[in-house]
Amino acid sequence: MKYYDPFILPFTIGLYFIFTFLVVKYAIWIFRLPKPDLIKIGKGFFTVKTFSATKEVFMESLLHRKVFKVNPVLGYMHMSLAMGWFLLILFGKIGTLSFSQDFFNPVHYAIFFKFFEPEDPHFFYSKTYYFLMDTFLLFILTGVGLAVFKRFRSKIFGLKKTTKTKLGDKFALSALWLIFPFRLLAESFTSGLHHSGHYLTGSLGIFFAGFLPLEMLVYPSWWAYSLALGVFFVALPFSRYTHIPTEMFLIFLRNYGIKTGNEFSGFSQAEILSCSRCGICIDKCQLTVAGCENAQPVYFLQDLRNNELTPELAMNCLQCGRCEEFCPVGIDIKKLRLIPRNELTSDNADFGYLPAAETRKAEVVFFAGCMTHLTPGIKKAMKNILDQAEIDYWFLDEDGGVCCGRPLILAGEMDSARQLIDYNRKLIFDSGAKILVTSCPICLKVFKKEYHLDVEILHHSEFILRLVEQGQIRLNKQLTRIAYHDPCELGRGSGIYDEPRNLINKTGTLVGSETEREQALCCGNSLGSFRLSAAHADHIMKDALDSLSTGNPDILATSCPLCKKTFSKAGKIPVKDIAELTAEAMSSNKDSIPEKKDFPEKNMDFAECRVCELEEEII
């Protein structure tokens, strides 16, 4: 056989193994997709979607654009490995085709070209070819060097912590680290013997020839290279490196419009295995600030993959969505976090006791929400504003009302939530209103996503801004310096960032803070987390407050009653809702001095310390 030598066997076997394995696995996932998703694939396959998926694969899986954005050094590491290897294979193949003029030369011929043609034969563009091959190898080796360095010193990557490895990963990892140094050695040894090679392998060859018995080392080094490749390929499906092929698969599915559902499916499987364990989410998730170990998305996904997920971990997530904003793979972590929750409860609440409530006809329905009822200042301000603007409105839950259903959804109880949704939905529908306004971003999101209402759904910040712009209320700008906290559910949850800011600029001066908009921090009191103790939540709140205070503001503004209540507890700075600021600016005189005393002096730390003690006693 022309292109054969026994040392290629580990590589070839590994390659065929991984190829078969992945094809079978992906076929099973596709088979497990729900029917509507399969139809989406069928419809999208011969359209531009396939093309854009290919483009995305190139940008994300090879260039790692998103990792670059978050962290350039980490991005370079990923890119040099992925892109470098891809180029090495691509140009290697082109080179062999150009040389052998045989389109069907076997795969390993390109990989081990130097072994089969040690004398660097000449062919079309061969000079460029040898130069490029050395360059790509060097490119990859810098990436490997960084990876090794990262294992031991993760600080230079700006990451506080790096992910832990399991045994299967260690195998694949060591193989991956060894592949390219072995290639370098094998090619250098061969070059040294045959006086060939370009700037890298050539000079190293001369160097090694000076003091090493190259005849004896050449052949074993090719074996080592092939073995490293083979081991890597065989270990890949059982290690974190499955993410490399799986992410590409995921990108295609996503481009056909498939989304994470309420149950585990082939798609969520692909998402779980696509996590590259880059560790970006560890620093971005505020559970880290709270001191919760091993609760961040990367660990959650790892436990899901290993079927080791504990109820504690399933319930410990704020659902703030910060991780998703940074995750380079774009995994729908929030949604995945909810699926196991559903498996923990029976989801059989019974709200048959709710009375048949009366509706009132009105132009606008105002739904304050449970949390607003616990912050009466917002309620009062809203009434003030609506009256002043002479709106024909109905305050739906003036006497308490019924929960919007979102807290139940966050507990994974979709069916139970449905009952509440249907109840409120009927009330809103019967009122004949055209606009539904709510003060609570938590309600806002569920109104938009689950209520399927035929009315315009607005958060009060949007509605108030509209009233101001239409001249229905007039505001006096004051001298107050105001920092704004983006509530998770309003910002990342519903994409509303500008309306509250515009309003603030009409009532005072907006000062920026460290973490804003998409990167905003969670206040820590989210309804998404069931496990977080009061003490842990407090850490998160204090950390967020510090970051918000960087501009030294007089007042902290927010547009969520829950955030307001949480931050007020610290007693550091007056916290006001957008509605309250507006109501004040409506009545106040120009240039009035900001009030500073209407916030509690003391916080309630005594209760939280006791929780820590008790937890220690019990566990």
């Binding site: 923990l344 409860t345 609440a349 949390m371 139940l408 109880e413 309630m604």
Partner: protein, 122 residues
């Protein structure tokens, strides 16, 4: 748990079922499970803040303070049914002066009732 069936009217007098607490018959396993999952329950001082704010308590005789008392005593016979009234809205958690994570208490109970270990207490 006083339900209408417990009060039978005879000759114009209400007969209430005995309210003796029989600790031997009561089941504290559930309570242990919940406390293990949510230790902050032990901080409760029974102030009733949670109950005053609870939406479900406005319509039914379910409320968190009562639920906690019954759970502690091990009188868990009607708990599963009454718990279905809770909307998990979290108002109780927000007003609690002791930082009791009430939502997780209720969720832990829901979990317990789904698990076979506790099914005989239903």
């Amino acid at each position: 748990m006083e339900t209408p069936e417990n009060n039978k009217t005879r000759f114009g007098f209400g007969l209430t079922k005995g309210r003796q607490i029989d600790y031997d018959a009561n089941d504290k396993k559930l309570c242990r499970f919940v406390v293990e999952n949510e230790p902050s329950l032990l901080l409760c001082i029974g102030c009733g803040g949670c109950t005053a704010t609870c939406t479900a308590a406005g319509f039914t005789d379910f409320n968190f303070r009562k639920l906690h008392h019954l759970l502690r005593r091990g009188e868990v016979f009607n708990l599963e049914k009454s718990m279905k009234n809770c909307m998990l809205c979290g108002k109780c958690k927000l007003v609690c002066p002791r930082g009791v994570n009430t939502r997780n208490v209720i969720f832990s109970l829901k979990r317990a009732f789904k698990m076979t270990d506790f099914s005989k207490t239903q």
